[in-house]
C-alpha cells in the first residue's frame, strides 16, 4: 500500500495500538523527509532540528485531525502544517531580539517626509500625488500600532513576531493590518486615486 492509499485519519485514530503506532511512525518519517527537502541547504537547520520539527509537527497534525476535510491528499495537508511549524520557529529565532520600542519608534517615523527617499518619486506627477496622499493617510488615519505593524511587514519581520511585539493574537493582528490597508486604500480613493492608479504606480 502506498502512502497515498492509506486512510491516514483512520489509521492515526486506530484503537489497535500497533496500527496507530505504525501510522504515527510512518507519518513522522514522511514529515521529516519533506522537511529535509524543503530546508536543504540552510545553515541554521541541523539534523536535530529536523527531528524536533517533525515531532512537533506530528503533534500539531494529530491535534488538528478533525480539521482535515479531504480536499487534498492527507500527506500534502500534513506537510503544509509541518512547514508552518518549522518556518515559524526559524523566524522566531532570527527575529527574537527585535524590541517593540524599536518597532513603534520606526512606525512613528513612517509618515515623516524625510523618511521617503527622494528617488521614490522621480518625475512622475501621478506617483508624486499618490505618495503624498499615502503619507498623509499614514500620518492621519493609522494608529501607532498600525503604523508599526506596516513597517514591520516592510522590514520583512515575520507576522508572528509582529503580533507578539504588539501583544495581540494572530487573528487580531491580521485584522489590524487588514483594517490599516483598507483605511489607506479608502483615503487614496477619496483623494481621487483609483485602484488602477494604485496598481500602475510602481509596476
Amino acid at each position: 500500500m502506498t502512502q497515498n492509499e492509506v486512510n491516514w485519519p483512520a489509521a492515526l485514530r486506530a484503537t489497535d495500538s500497533g496500527e496507530q503506532t505504525a501510522a504515527v511512525n510512518a507519518l513522522r518519517e514522511i514529515l521529516q523527509n519533506g522537511l529535509r527537502i524543503a530546508l536543504n541547504g540552510r545553515s541554521d537547520v541541523s539534523g536535530a532540528h529536523l527531528e524536533d520539527f517533525a515531532q512537533e509537527s506530528l503533534l500539531r497534525v494529530l491535534d488538528r485531525l478533525d480539521q482535515f476535510q479531504g480536499r487534498s491528499k492527507f500527506t500534502t495537508w500534513a506537510q503544509a502544517i509541518a512547514l508552518n511549524v518549522a518556518f515559524t520557529e526559524l523566524r522566531r529565532k532570527r527575529w527574537q531580539d527585535v524590541s517593540l520600542d524599536a518597532l513603534m519608534a520606526d512606525g512613528a517615523h513612517l509618515a515623516e517626509p524625510a523618511m521617503i527617499a527622494e528617488d521614490v518619486l522621480g518625475a512622475d506627477e501621478d506617483r508624486t500625488r499618490l505618495v503624498a496622499a499615502l503619507r498623509n493617510a499614514i500620518e492621519n488615519d493609522l494608529t501607532p500600532k498600525q503604523r508599526a505593524a506596516i513597517l514591520g511587514e516592510l522590514r520583512e519581520l515575520p507576522f508572528d513576531q509582529i503580533v507578539a511585539l504588539l501583544g495581540t493574537s494572530r487573528s487580531a493582528g491580521y485584522k489590524m493590518l487588514h483594517d490599516a490597508r483598507r483605511a489607506l486604500k479608502q483615503r487614496l480613493h477619496e483623494a481621487g486615486i483609483t485602484s488602477a492608479d494604485i496598481q500602475n504606480a510602481f509596476s
Partner: protein, 82 residues
C-alpha cells in the same frame, strides 16, 4: 539604527502601494490560508484551475511573504515526489 537606514526605499513604498492594490474587503488570514493551501498547491501542480474559495489562497500568498515562503517549500516537496 540611523535615519538613513530608516528611510523608506522606492521598493518599500512600492511594496505598500502594491499591498493596497491587492487589498480586498474579504481576505483569507494566515490560518485560513494554511487550511486551504494544500488543495491550492495540488491544483497548481496539476495545472488545474481553482475555484473561488481557493483563489483567495492565491490572493493571500501575493500579500503574505511568510505564507508564500511556506507554499514555495511545499511545492518543492511535491515536485520532488513526482
Amino acid at each position: 539604527m540611523n535615519k538613513m537606514e530608516q528611510r523608506l526605499t522606492r521598493e518599500q513604498v512600492g511594496s505598500i502601494v502594491k499591498m493596497l492594490g491587492l487589498t480586498t474587503d474579504r481576505e483569507f488570514n494566515c490560518s485560513e490560508c494554511l487550511q486551504h493551501v494544500s488543495e491550492f498547491a495540488e491544483c497548481q501542480l496539476a495545472n488545474q484551475s481553482v475555484g473561488e474559495v481557493i483563489s483567495k489562497v492565491e490572493q493571500h500568498l501575493a500579500m503574505c511573504p511568510e505564507c508564500r515562503e511556506e507554499y514555495e517549500a511545499l511545492m518543492k516537496i511535491l515536485k520532488a515526489g513526482q
